[in-house]
């Protein structure tokens, strides 16, 4: 019966997989995975929806196994099923008829293998019947494929540059204002930055190109370097630590409408810290 138990365990795992994928699909529709990815992109917490779906799937499979009143006798062929059931329910009887029945059941059951039981476990769809295991495995593959496709389309909506295109436009507009070439995606990185970082121009060597880096007091980090003289008109002079109102509005307006509110709230919350 070891093979049969393995089969049962596999069936239970398939049930768990199907339930887990169904939960994950529901979560995708609600936008939960995208939400987690957005806020905890670099953290393993971003995988929380998948992990929770998996746990719910396993719990569901366990509950399903407990609910389904599993009847091994039902998988035996025709009269043998009734016969075995009668023999099992009267196993404590010592009557002449029972002894005869027990001997017959023992003889006939010795010819039944685990494979016969597994093959008989079928789903009926009208005139057609399919082995349950194959049907469930097929369903799981289809669900996973659907989830993958749906998840990709969701991911595209949420985190690819497309919705954030206005941001990229803003960056390009800023670059135009500085009269420089477009900044490559991902920014520039390099080593060899030296000298003062406030007040006087500093020098950075990037890919054998000398770059002057100038940061103005109160302008905070994130400004890009330029090779020309500073242009005051771009920045409003303000006290250190204060937000730049004009730049923020421009920034907020340039965001995709659907994300505008949440990013705005993010900066508002940041300002209160």
């Amino acid at each position: 019966m070891g093979v049969y138990r393995l089969f049962e365990r596999s069936m239970s795992l398939l049930n768990g997989g199907i339930i887990a994928v169904l939960f994950y699909i529901a979560a995708l529709f609600l936008g939960i995975p995208a939400f987690f990815r957005f806020y905890w992109q670099d953290s393993s917490f971003a995988w929380a929806p998948a992990a929770v779906s998996l746990i719910l799937g396993l719990l569901g499979a366990k509950v399903l196994a407990r609910w389904s009143d599993y009847d091994l006798f039902a998988h035996l062929e025709g009269s043998l099923s009734e016969k075995t059931k009668a023999a099992y329910d009267n196993r404590h009887s010592d009557s002449v008829v029972m002894q005869s029945l027990a001997a017959d059941v023992k003889r006939r059951l010795s010819k039944v293998g685990a494979k016969d039981l597994i093959n008989n476990r079928r789903l009926n769809f009208g005139d057609r019947s399919f082995p349950t295991f194959q049907a469930k495995a097929g369903a799981l593959v289809l669900l996973i494929a659907f989830t993958a496709i749906f998840s990709q389309s969701q991911a595209g909506d949420e985190i690819t540059p497309h919705p954030f295109k206005p941001l990229a436009d803003l960056r390009d507009r800023a670059a135009d204002l500085f009269g420089e070439e477009e900044i490559p995606k991902g920014g520039r990185t390099g080593t060899g930055i030296s000298g003062e970082i406030y007040g006087k121009p500093s020098l950075a060597v990037l890919e054998e190109v000398n770059l002057e880096l100038i940061l103005y007091p109160g302008s905070a980090a994130g400004f890009r370097s330029r090779q020309t003289d500073p242009m005051d008109r771009l920045f409003t002079v303000s006290e250190p630590g204060e937000g730049v109102a004009v730049a923020t509005e421009l920034y907020i307006e340039s965001l995709p409408p659907q994300h505008r509110e949440i990013i705005k709230r993010y900066f508002e919350n940041l300002a209160t810290i």
Partner: protein, 316 residues
């Protein structure tokens, strides 16, 4: 004793085949009826046979009694039949100069009692049979007399003659394990009947089973294993009759016992060492049909007890 049972169990299929063969010499067709009567005998229950006149009810019962070699008596029920005519009476006898009371046993003191046209007997006489049927004993005066095992009452009644009849009360109907309908024979069977009974030689049957063998078979019947699922289904069927639409009164727990016992007997008769669902379904009709009282509305609509049982079995 156990050895005897083992031997009887081994021989049971052959015994049943021989009984069927002997009955078949006299009774043409009616295989289902014969099987149901044998079920009743193996279960140790009483049987009520109902059919139109001339279908061989009495002949069938007499034939079965002859094949078993049991004591057989026949009571022809009429409205003026008195209880003492059935149970027996106490006589005063002179023995060696002194007068003594002696109990003269009535026809009920037999193994197989044929109560012909039972619905013609008065309610008082019908009631006299109640104790005998249920308790398998007879009380006359202050004395109680045990009836010898096995004891069966095979009663017949005619459904079409209502004049001068007294329908059996529900309490007495419940004491019958089975109510068996006998239908008309087919044309081929009727031809065979005509052939057999229009010649000179009347078919005769031989005794093929002893009283002891029959008692052993009754014991084996009770030992036939039945699964818990089927027991539950039997109880569900009986309990459903009590709340079924169109049924005024449902079957009593005696029906559950009877259904299980009769199913076991049918399995044994068919050479099976376990009860299957077919046994339960087949025996539900003769077990339940006389225990269900239809509502007035159902009767008005022409619904029969068998239709109700059929619907009820489909729902289980």
């Amino acid at each position: 004793m156990r050895e005897d049972l083992i031997n009887i169990y081994k021989e049971a299929p052959a015994i049943f085949e021989t009984i069927r063969g002997e009955i078949g010499k006299v009774v043409v067709g009616q295989k289902s009826v014969v099987e149901q009567i044998l079920v009743g005998i193996l279960s140790g229950g009483h049987i009520l046979l109902e059919s139109n006149p001339g279908l061989g009810k009495t002949l069938l019962v007499k034939t079965i009694a002859n094949t078993t070699g049991l004591d057989f008596s026949r009571i022809q029920c009429t409205p003026d039949l008195m209880p003492a005519d059935i149970t027996g009476t106490t006589l005063i006898e002179e023995v060696e100069g002194s007068k003594v009371f002696r109990f003269e046993e009535g026809p009920i003191f037999a193994n197989i009692v044929l109560a012909d046209e039972i619905n013609r007997a008065s309610p008082r006489t019908q009631s006299a049979m109640l104790e005998a049927m249920q308790e398998k004993q007879v009380t006359v005066g202050k004395n109680t007399y045990k009836l010898e095992e096995p004891f069966f009452v095979l009663a017949t009644q005619n459904p079409i003659e209502m004049e001068g009849t007294f329908p059996l009360p529900e309490a007495q109907l419940d004491r019958f394990l089975l109510k068996i309908y006998i239908d008309y024979p087919s044309s081929e069977e009727e031809y065979e009947i005509m052939e057999r009974y229009t010649g000179h030689a009347e078919p005769k049957v031989e005794r093929v089973i002893t009283r002891r063998e029959l008692l052993s078979l009754q014991q084996l019947t009770r030992d036939v294993p039945i699964s818990d699922d089927l027991k539950t289904a039997a109880i569900k069927a009986v309990v459903s009759t009590r709340s079924w639409e169109g049924v005024e009164y449902g079957a009593s727990p005696r029906a559950s016992i009877g259904l299980i016992l009769a199913s076991k007997a049918r399995a044994l008769l068919r050479g099976r060492d376990y009860v299957d669902r077919d046994d339960l379904v087949a025996m539900a009709y003769p077990i339940l049909r006389h225990r269900i009282i239809l509502s007035f509305d159902s009767e008005r609509r022409g619904v029969t007890c068998d239709q109700v049982i059929s619907d009820l079995l489909k729902s289980i």
